[in-house]
């Protein structure tokens, strides 16, 4: 399971302040905590700073990688900001994300084409948000084939089928889950990845729902998640679900996590 740590996001007030004050200590602590908790990628987002995003994203990548030896997930729709961030990035970065919205597709494709990058392919098009499995597959198909044609390796593609809140339509949970399964079986070797906290919008006990939904998605084949790695219950759920899915040889990760007290909340 690929874990992308979501906490360095400028929509969080403390992070925005640290970015504006160019305070590396705050950012590096969040990066180190997430890596320590199991993040394989550290997401960096400076989207709220219109006009300054490129500079800030570059600074974030440098700052994060000075503290931890993990690649970043570069979270921006702006090709200039992404390129600025990539210019200082060490290792194989993840680009978060391309979608089928024409403007975004045309902007991001040249960056990832033939490059040694991971790319999140978000199931969204100019037609709107997908609701059903078929909506999602129609978008995923165009995205995946477009990326393959442009020399992006299948195993570098992380399809995000787009989670919508179950509070607003009863079948939003199940249609997403079915889409995970269909994507994973249709394109063998591809990955799926998502941030799934949207599922619980409009309902109480959101963390509990998110965690339950995560285990259900893992059961359908989900193998990547943008989460808060410091949410110990969420991380424990992921470890347990992976073992239950036969993705943990001799349950070694599960037992290692147990001995590291990751099941003590």
């Amino acid at each position: 399971m690929i874990i992308v740590g979501e906490l360095i996001n400028a929509s969080r007030k403390s992070v925005a302040a640290a970015i504006e004050n160019q305070d590396p200590a705050v950012i590096q602590k969040i990066a180190a905590d997430q890596a320590e908790a199991g993040a394989h990628y550290v997401d960096v987002n400076a989207g709220v700073f219109v006009g300054r995003e490129a500079d800030y994203l570059k600074w974030l990548v440098t700052t994060v990688q000075a503290a931890v030896d993990v690649p970043c997930s570069i979270d921006s729709p702006d090709p200039k900001a992404i390129e600025a961030a990539l210019s200082v990035h060490r290792g194989t970065a993840m680009i978060n994300s391309i979608s089928l919205e024409k403007e975004r597709y045309d902007a991001i494709l040249p960056i990832v084409a033939g490059a040694d990058l991971k790319v999140v392919a978000l199931c969204m098009s100019d037609e709107g948000m997908p609701k059903t499995v078929d909506d999602r597959m129609a978008i995923a198909d165009k995205l995946v084939n477009g990326l393959l044609r442009n020399n992006v390796a299948l195993e570098n593609i992380y399809v995000d089928p787009l989670v919508q809140p179950v509070a607003t339509r009863d079948d939003f949970g199940i249609e997403f889950l079915k889409a995970i399964e269909k994507i994973m079986t249709t394109y063998e070797g591809i990955h799926t990845l998502c941030g799934l906290s949207n599922i619980s919008f409009g309902l109480p006990e959101r963390k509990f729902l998110n965690q339950t939904f995560m285990t259900m998605a893992i059961a359908k084949g989900l193998d990547g998640a943008i989460v808060n790695p410091l949410d110990s219950k969420m991380m424990a759920s992921i470890i347990a679900a992976e073992a239950l899915m036969g993705k943990d040889e001799f349950c070694m990760n599960y037992l290692t996590a147990f001995r590291a007290k990751k099941f003590e909340f």
């Binding site: 929509s11 989207g47 403007e103 509070a167 607003t168």
Partner: protein, 209 residues
């Protein structure tokens, strides 16, 4: 309990079938459809909005109440041909250009309709010119816009500017909302009101009437 009060209470808890039965019974009793709407359905949705604001109920409970209300309206509307239902206000609503998020905007529309407000929903990815066209065509008192992305927030301002430049209606009030939007931002771009959820959007309209 009067039948209108029963309609109100059953609508508020989303009991669609009982609401339909009670509505038919009220019609048979000779109660005016507009009374049923004003004192049964709209009052029910006001109760729902208040509870939602206090976190006593959640989004699905708001939606199930709205479904019960729509069921009753479906029965009442054919009986009201030729009569104008009383409307609190008229609103043109949409998600700004470049932004495809519709869930919050739809919830706002539902609660506005529940409050007896006429809603013209232009959908998502609405260009400033499209908003302007709709304002000219429908002459609403309110323009309500949503933006869910930091990258599309500037389009709230662009739309306000385009509408202001066209000088269609000096009294038109503009309401904005969406996850990254704040009261501060609303003030900066010259919006008249801001709401952070579907129930307070209705309050914002009432406050500006």
């Amino acid at each position: 309990m009067s039948i209108i009060d029963q309609i109100r209470d059953k609508t508020a808890v989303g009991d669609m079938n009982t609401v339909a039965e009670l509505t038919n019974q009220a019609i048979a009793d000779g109660i005016a459809p507009d009374d049923i709407i004003q004192h049964g359905l709209i009052e029910a949705m006001t109760i729902v909005g208040d509870k939602f604001k206090k976190n006593e109920i959640y989004v699905p409970e708001m939606l199930i109440a709205a479904r019960a209300m729509k069921t009753a309206l479906g029965i009442l509307k054919p009986l009201m041909v030729g009569q104008e239902a009383k409307r609190l206000a008229k609103v043109v609503i949409g998600t700004v250009k470049g932004d495809l998020h519709d869930i919050g905007k739809n919830l706002v529309s539902i609660m506005m309709e529940g409050a007896g407000i006429e809603v013209m929903d232009l959908g998502v990815d609405v260009a400033p010119e499209k908003f302007l066209e709709a304002i000219k065509a429908h002459q609403p008192q309110f323009l309500a816009m949503s933006a869910l992305l930091t990258t599309t927030m500037p389009n709230l301002k662009t739309t306000i500017d385009v509408v202001a430049e066209a000088g269609v209606d000096q009294n038109l009030k503009v309401l904005i909302g969406g996850a990254p939007v704040t009261q501060k931002f609303a003030d900066e771009i010259g919006a008249d009101g801001y709401a952070d959820n579907a129930a307070t959007a209705v309050d914002a309209i009432k406050a500006l009437l």
